[in-house]
Amino acid sequence: MRTVAYYKGCLASLSAKELDTSTQALAPKVGLELVELEAVTCCGAGDIHEAEPDYYLHLNSRILRVRGGDRNHSLSGLTSAR
């Protein structure tokens, strides 16, 4: 069994929860143990990308940092101006 981070997101949590049901059902059959990420947020889909692109970058950098498990890791590498 390989452990993988599982980011469920908004739609699979609610209005398209079949996605979650089938992912949870299939994962062990292909040798994956899903570890659902806590303390993550909406990724913004394409919408925040089009409305507030810099916020989109920061939100998703934060989600990826949670995935990495190192909550103290600085975001500055991704988001500082240069």
Partner: protein, 369 residues
Amino acid sequence: MSMKVALKIWRYDPVAGERALKEYEVDAPEWATLLDVLDLVKDRVDGTLAYRKSCRMMICGSCGMRMDGAAVLACKTRMDDIAQAGHVPVISAMGNMPIIKDLVVDMEPFWGKIRAVSPWLEPGYADPGEKEHVVSQERMDVIHKESLCIMCGCCVSECNSMEADPDFLGPAALAKGMRFVGDARDQATVERLQELSGPHGIWDCTRCYFCQERCPKGVDPLDAIAKLGAEALKEGIDSDMGAKHAKWFVTSAKTTGWLRETELVPKTQGIARSLKEVKFAMGLARHGKVPPPFPPHVAKDVGEARALYDLVKLQGRDGADGIVQSEKALSRLEFEGEEAEDPYGEGSFPRPHLPGEGPVDNVEEEAES
């Protein structure tokens, strides 16, 4: 060294109105591109084969076509790997435009949309005077990629929104629109954004990313569309439902951290119109797809998401600048991440060298000795 290259080409004879998939095989040099192979087919096998070409070096934009269903520039596509794998690719005309003959399409719908976005600078003066109008590098960064477009039509060929709505402005025209919206010298920014935010404009893109994936020049038309959306909202141009939909995602993320789906429809369509969706909403509720009103669905550590929004506002990279920042972030991840790789390392770009040094891997060692 030469190689055998086989192709299947969708031919179209406009006189007889017949389509047929025909297979050809030719001997070609191993450096041959798809365009070279088409030239060989036309010279040696069938002179009636029709396709467009001009520069043969990826700058004129004439030879857009599809290989195995995806748009490519024929002159940019090397055939050696494909031929050696024994694969016989299917070559066809670009999509979303009517075929004139074989691989030649009528580009008029494409040009009509380019013309519709006023693809010229509106500097707000008739006489530029003697003074030079210099644009800073920072302001050019916002429209650099859009400026690379060679108008080959590959993105339009792949556009799924345009397939559903032939009047959709589409990736090429919208990228051209951004080219001028983002130009620091242009004085018609707001008028342009209002025009592009209308029906068949910015907000009709479904974000399938096909244009971005298949543009042979790195224009990234979907990013251009996102830049336009962000610039429009920055100017307060948000009457389109797509704009309202996008804004609600921002509100959701910075308040509860999760998309507030129950409110999404009324926030997008308005209360009156969303009443029509009540039956649909009841169906969702029956299947347990509507959240209970209490307790509210709030992300753990949502304070961080809220703080990030405040941080973003302080940084002042509003609008299209946010997309430029994402590009910088990606290149940093690629070249300066924790496991930073030498950009000139094995399998990447050739290391620059001076005459006499030769294109070698051990430039540094030689310099030391």
